[in-house]
Symmetry: C2
Subunit: 477 residues, 2 copies
């Protein structure tokens, strides 16, 4: 009888959610920069990291928290994957660009913003792009109606005034403002004077955008890739000294407060029940892990991956696993926590399903539609693992609670090691990935490697777009 | 006006709590073995460690969670400190005993059980003692009306059947049952057959004890030092396979379930509002940290200190910081979280204050009465730091968010390093204690070392009881 009731309930929930799919729910994607798993209070951070995060914790309490949400381990590839639903290597975005050449997303790619645009969404981006800085590769070329932010990364704010850089003849980076259909305009140089202030402006513009769309009764997609938690650590003047625990604590307060403002806006506009609000990050923290020489100073490198090993630019859990909370009142069960494996790539097809959008069928989409998982219609995410890239190199695979490493790098600037036999780690027994247990678990490659073989075969069949490919790009087949 | 109301409220709460002090609230102290900071869900563990811990999380939600509760870094000294309110080295219990000689607490010491006994409490202990295994040194010689459990530690259950041990002529350890006033009786050998079952029996006996005392309307103190999370990892048959994530996940379910049973009993007896329920642990996990060779196998060594470095038997936060949650409905504010420094030694004078008990004035008590902090009458714990011992050696000091290490040991079996200049770590910036920032923080020793100087002077003035001192022991002065 109880089983029967529970079945009935699932069907009712399913019916409700199917209905909602036609409502085109708003989507807000807050995307932190180099923000480790261990930072928010909802993952055991908060107060031990310098400041409580009551609004983030409340967000998680009101929705679903994923403890095993994975990303690519660098900034550009992670942003490429979340925008396209594809491994970044397929798009020629396997690494952070270091040179000044052409890079980023080619026009042929279909972004989440383009997909939602076609569904009638207003699409606004406020923040850091890092997927192109030249004509035709700005966010407003890739499906966003409007964009305010920086094309590249925040280290530029550090070096932009250095004499050596100024003398180099390299081009300086600017804060930009753009509308779809015309070239974005330079607003101001992105230097240290503006560095503490930018996220305040991003928040204000995101709020104004949401208000405008709500008034126009237009469904919207807000992509909000904040900059604050990337080095250098420089909180907004409103928060300097407020935590009593130094600049990082102040920043945690700032993040929490800005997220609270966004949520309050949504609640005040009366659109909470029709808005999917996601808080996550691009990759693990900058802070280095045990056994490494670090350069931590109070205003420079910070971060904690919680129990997980190491930092960004590695194949360890500290790089891959980031905080994740999603709220959708009435649709996503409040207070649910899941350790199922989810990858940033899965957001594209999942959001497409929920918004009634179209997933391109002329290319490989690596993401999995997880709408039924998110909506509580099934316990499993449907993903058993994924291939771990560090840059363009395959470092290993994750499969259930296990990892197989063919390569390891013990920190972003650490030593690269390559193994003739893969190392096996059990993530539940050994979250610090220290104990190679390939023996006695020699069955593990049989279980974990088929996904890698399939992936490699798929790359052969569908060759990746070369990094820096010219536009208009034409796929080889 | 609001300030005035808030002041009035504080006075009312104070009045209420002063009244309660005369009510002799029951005290239940659940004391886990080698249970890392990162294990319970309330510290970001739970599901990522193998099983959700809903009852522990609820306990924390209903009371006060301390994120900076510290212990000694080994089993025996931690138990000595929590029982006496004194650094274990003062009591001759600085290290885990390895030999077969006389060790543990001398009669001259005053334990929490003795102090509460004098206040008319019924005192029951169920579990592991590790503070003496010879006549006059059992729990029932130290203030407990009754005791069921093991005198020593759980590694004995592993070796008790090994031929080499059997041939050695050494004495085997037994599960014992005792009443105050007579010698405890051997119930059965403590071997692997009983190892998975013992915590079930401890729970049943604790529940029966609480029911008996509640019926007799007698205030009670239950000290419940569970064994399950010490190696070897062997969950009770009721939980084997239940988590789907191996033996450690099963154990987390077991711990959570048993704690739930205790709380349900208290609630069902209608004594929740007059019962202080504490959940904590003796020291950090067995699992080893980065850079060490470990011997993790599924049924042996496990554990996670969450974001903190290393394991038991070190001076790192992973050894010192353990999970802590306390519930006292109506007295301790629900949902409060504090990162104030608290030490296990502080429980003795705090409990004494609340229970109207007497703190001995003829010896040094290192613990601080934190009753006002616990009851929310002040934000600060009153403790700015403490001396870090590893065994009988001073490894360093903790002061606010900082640590100074004179010695470091990189794991329980790691290399011991000694420094001519102390290393300084900032625990908020650098929870993994990797970056020595003595430069530029050369002011830090001036702030952090006075407590150490005072402690060393106090040890000179009041010489410690020698380890294995005979009873009756007489203090030198």
């Amino acid at each position: 009888m109880i089983k029967c009731l529970s079945r009935l309930l699932s069907i009712l929930i399913l019916a409700a959610s199917t209905a909602s799919a036609q409502d085109n729910p708003n989507i807000v994607l807050v995307f932190m920069d180099n923000f480790g798993w261990g930072e928010p209070g909802f993952n055991g951070g908060g107060i031990i990291r310098g400041a409580a995060t009551p609004r983030l914790d409340q967000l998680a309490d009101e929705g679903l928290r994923l403890t095993n949400f994975n990303v690519e381990v660098q900034c550009t590839p992670s942003r490429s994957a979340i925008m396209t639903g594809r491994y970044a290597v397929r798009s020629g975005n396997g690494t952070v660009p270091l040179g000044e050449g052409v890079y980023g997303l080619v026009q042929w790619e279909v972004t989440m913003a383009e997909m939602l645009s076609e569904q009638g969404y207003a699409t606004g981006m406020f923040g850091k792009w890092h997927l192109g800085r030249t004509e035709g590769r700005f966010p407003t070329d890739q499906g966003f109606d409007e964009w305010y932010g920086v094309p590249n990364s925040t280290d530029e704010a550090v070096y932009s005034s250095l004499p050596d850089f100024v003398d180099s003849g390299l081009s300086e980076s600017f804060v930009m403002d753009g509308k779809k259909g015309s070239a974005p305009q330079k607003v101001r140089p992105y230097r240290l004077d503006y560095r503490p202030l930018i996220d305040r402006d991003l928040t204000d513009r995101a709020i104004a955008f949401m208000k405008r769309q709500a008034e126009a009764k237009k469904p919207f997609f807000v992509y909000l890739p904040y900059t604050a938690t990337h080095f250098p650590t420089m909180p907004h003047p409103d928060f300097v000294g407020k935590s009593g625990n130094g600049p990082w604590g102040d920043l945690l307060m700032q993040i929490d407060s800005y997220t609270g403002e966004l949520l309050d806006t949504i609640d005040d506009l009366g659109i909470a029940e029709n808005t999917i609000f996601i808080f996550t990050a691009d990759n693990g923290p900058e802070a280095l892990s045990a056994g490494e020489t670090s350069l931590t100073v109070e205003t420079a490198v910070h971060g904690s991956a919680g129990p997980w090993r190491s930092s960004l630019f590695t194949g360890y859990e500290g790089a891959l696993r980031v905080p994740f909370a999603v709220r959708w009142p009435g649709k996503i069960e409040a207070g649910r926590v899941s350790d199922e494996i989810v990858h940033a790539m899965d957001l594209f097809p999942t959001v497409a399903e929920i918004a009634g959008g179209k997933v391109p069928d002329d290319r490989v989409i690596d993401g999995i539609n997880m709408s039924e998982f998110l909506l509580g219609q099934q316990e499993e995410s449907g993903r058993e693992g994924f291939v771990i890239y560090m840059g363009n190199a395959i470092f290993g695979v994750k499969w259930r609670n296990w990892k197989l490493h063919f390569k390891e790098q013990t920190g972003w600037n650490g030593v690269l090691r390559e193994y003739t036999m893969p190392r096996a780690y059990n993530l539940m027994n050994d979250p610090q990935e220290l104990d190679n247990v390939l023996f006695p678990h020699t069955w593990l490659p049989k279980a974990a490697l088929p996904q890698l073989e399939e992936h490699v075969a798929s790359l052969k069949k569908h060759p990746p777009i070369p990094a820096g490919a010219p536009d208009p790009y034409k796929p080889p087949n």
